[in-house]
């Protein structure tokens, strides 16, 4: 038996449980419940109540990405810096949440921000009075940043860490003051990491599920929650088809952004997972 045949169970499994299901999504997206071809499923999303969710998802994901970049870049810069003794353990601490259950992390956030939660208890104790956080877009945004920040730090850190320090010295040598070293050399050279981080945060943020439901008591729905909602509309005979068409749009968006990422960063210098 040739050794390459050992890969056949792998190929079969991935075909059955990764490729075929996606074909089902495509099939349902373009058909009616009777199996006839249609594009009507995609038109559903021009309806204002769906459009509103999509626009809100895009907006919040955009804010989330911007905030993650703002917080994540300096973090990565500090971690990759020379003469930082605790960097290695801090990197692990910052990346750990990335691998931890999103639901649990969001649940923890909920506990903190709840009307009767720790934040409000602390504010009351300080005599500042309660604030309503849960249910606002702010809370959802905070939850998104909390969950996806490590995905921004990792690729930027990887790029900065790999950067040859003599390049920074060369910039100083050629007349850059410390600020210009950062704006003219460090940031431009870390663009692959930035692009990687932006994609790795923006995409899951757009498709995020459960985070917004939990942090808004179900009031604010994002794209991921919308898919869940559509599939659970038991009264709607089209629910599988409409849900699939929406899932397909998500998937295409993701694949497009990965294509974009590969183009900007062909050697995967950003060290992204993709």
């Amino acid at each position: 038996m040739k050794r390459s045949w050992y890969a056949s169970p792998y190929a079969l499994w991935m075909l059955l449980f990764a490729v075929v299901p996606l074909l089902f999504v495509c099939w349902y997206a373009f058909t009616t419940p009777d199996g006839a071809f249609t594009l009507a499923n995609f038109q559903e999303f021009t309806k204002p109540r769906y459009m509103g969710v999509i626009l809100r998802s895009l907006k919040l994901a955009l804010y989330c990405t911007a905030l993650c970049l703002l917080i994540g870049y300096p973090t990565a810069y500090f971690l990759a810096g020379r003469g930082f003794n605790h960097a290695q353990s801090l990197v692990v601490l910052i990346l750990l949440p990335m691998w931890m259950n999103l639901l649990l992390r969001t649940y923890a956030m909920m506990t903190l921000l709840d009307d009767n939660g720790v934040l409000n208890a602390a504010l009351t104790a300080l005599g500042l009075g309660k604030v309503r956080v849960i249910g606002t877009e702010g809370a959802v945004l905070m939850g998104l940043v909390y969950n996806y920040l490590p995905f921004m730090v990792l690729p930027i850190y990887t790029v900065l860490k790999k950067m040859d320090y003599s390049v920074i010295e060369a910039a100083e040598d050629l007349g850059c003051n410390p600020l210009r070293v950062i704006t003219r050399v460090v940031i431009p050279m870390s663009v692959p990491g930035i692009v990687s981080g932006v994609t790795m945060v923006f995409m899951p943020a757009v498709t995020s599920f459960a985070i917004s439901t939990l942090l808004s008591n179900g009031k604010i729905r994002l794209a991921g929650d919308l898919i869940d909602y559509i599939f659970n509309q038991s009264s709607n005979p089209n629910r599988w088809n409409i849900g699939s068409s929406f899932s397909l749009i998500m998937l295409v968006l993701i694949l497009l952004s990965i294509g974009f990422l590969r183009k900007v960063d062909p050697d995967n210098e950003g060290g992204g997972m993709w």
Partner: protein
């Protein structure tokens, strides 16, 4: 040509990294338009010395003066000194043109001697083009730096530094990564560039041949100290101690006794020499270059020995000859070959025998052959 003005002066410079002393009390001055090479094995402190001049390290103690005023307080980006880094350190997010223009872009139009921004752009273009011609890379403006060979990257790194018209160019083993043939070409080109531009080059290398080829002055370093400084011929012909003799070129180094002025004893034989002032019966080191030993008939030599091995080295043969008096293994270069096993005589003329005082400090003793490049 080298002028007498002292451009850079180091006084008692020391540098410690933690507990390790990398530089110990270095005194050195560098003159205008001088091509000076810091030569030594790896770990001798030569790169640290260069980095102190470049502003990337602060000396732990001591003074560094540039035209008489303190240099250590000036950050690297304000020094009129530019560096060619060991691994080139090109900016790979910029193309060749923008790499070279990098330093000029940071300057104001006034600093470039023009008034408007448009004029600045033109001026930069003119200067970059001129530099590309100087390093023989015209036509490569739009190339990505990743697409260049090592030699080409080196040229861009040199152009990028020189375009800023520094008073001093620092070069940190710039040719280390190139193959032998390219290295020889670049050595000549660098020397020509330095003479054409009339600026000071401070060059760091562990390759003694490179140092001898290009330099006006060589400072041989070991153990954080300058062992000897002087022009290449002097360093080669009159090494000050056994380390320098061993590091520069190939040589036979033997222990001997200075019996009296102009008379030395080694290998159980007395030799006439030209050195004086060592006193009588003083222990000394004796250096004899392999090409200074002449092979003669077995009965007429000052020493006799048997040929142990012969290697053809291109221009000459290198023979190891075992002396009969005390078993010393002599390295001899000669254009005529003697077969292995032949008994031969050897003679050495007095002025080819170099006498050195025995090293007193630990770090002046030859360390090891590591870092020594075979020619």
């Amino acid at each position: 040509m080298v002028q007498d003005t002292r451009l850079i002066e180091l006084k008692g410079v020391c540098k410690n990294f933690g507990d390790t002393q990398v530089l110990r009390d270095v005194d050195l001055y560098i003159r205008k338009c001088e091509f000076i090479t810091l030569l030594g094995p790896s770990g001798c402190g030569k790169t640290t010395l260069l980095r102190i001049i470049g502003g990337f390290e602060m000396p732990s103690s001591g003074e560094v003066l540039f035209e008489g005023s303190d240099l250590t307080v000036i950050p690297p980006y304000k020094r009129r000194i530019n560096t060619v880094f060991q691994k080139y350190a090109l900016f790979n997010h910029l193309n060749v043109y923008d790499n070279i223009a990098f330093g000029l872009n940071l300057k104001t139009p006034e600093q470039l001697g023009v008034k408007t921004k448009a004029e600045k752009k033109k001026e930069i273009e003119r200067r970059v083009k001129r530099m590309l011609r100087l390093v023989k890379m015209d036509g490569y403006e739009k190339r990505s730096t990743d697409a260049l060979s090592g030699g080409q990257q080196q040229r861009i790194a040199i152009a990028r530094a020189l375009v800023n018209e520094p008073e001093v160019l620092l070069l940190d083993e710039p040719l280390g990564a190139l193959d032998l043939k390219l290295r020889k070409e670049m050595q000549l080109e660098l020397k020509a560039m330095q003479q054409q531009l009339g600026i000071t080059f401070i060059y760091v290398t562990h390759d003694q041949e490179e140092a001898l080829t290009m330099s006006d002055t060589i400072a041989v370093m070991n153990g954080g100290r300058i062992q000897q400084i002087g022009d290449p011929k002097r360093i080669y012909d009159e090494p000050k101690n056994a380390f320098v003799a061993d590091f520069i070129g190939e040589s036979n180094i033997l222990s001997g006794t200075m019996l009296q002025d102009e008379l030395v004893e080694f290998s159980g034989t007395e030799f006439q020499c030209v050195d004086e002032g060592f006193g009588t019966n003083a222990p000394v080191d004796v250096v004899i270059r392999p090409e200074d030993i002449m092979i003669v008939g077995e009965d007429v030599g000052m020493l006799t020995g048997t040929v142990q091995s012969v290697i053809f080295k291109g221009v000459h043969y290198e023979m190891m000859i075992k002396g009969e008096s005390d078993g010393t293994l002599w390295k001899v270069h000669s254009t005529t070959m003697q077969p292995v096993g032949t008994r031969v005589g050897m003679t050495i003329v007095p002025y080819n025998i170099h006498i050195m005082r025995k090293a007193t400090t630990a770090d002046a003793v030859p360390v090891s052959d590591s870092g020594k490049e075979e020619a």
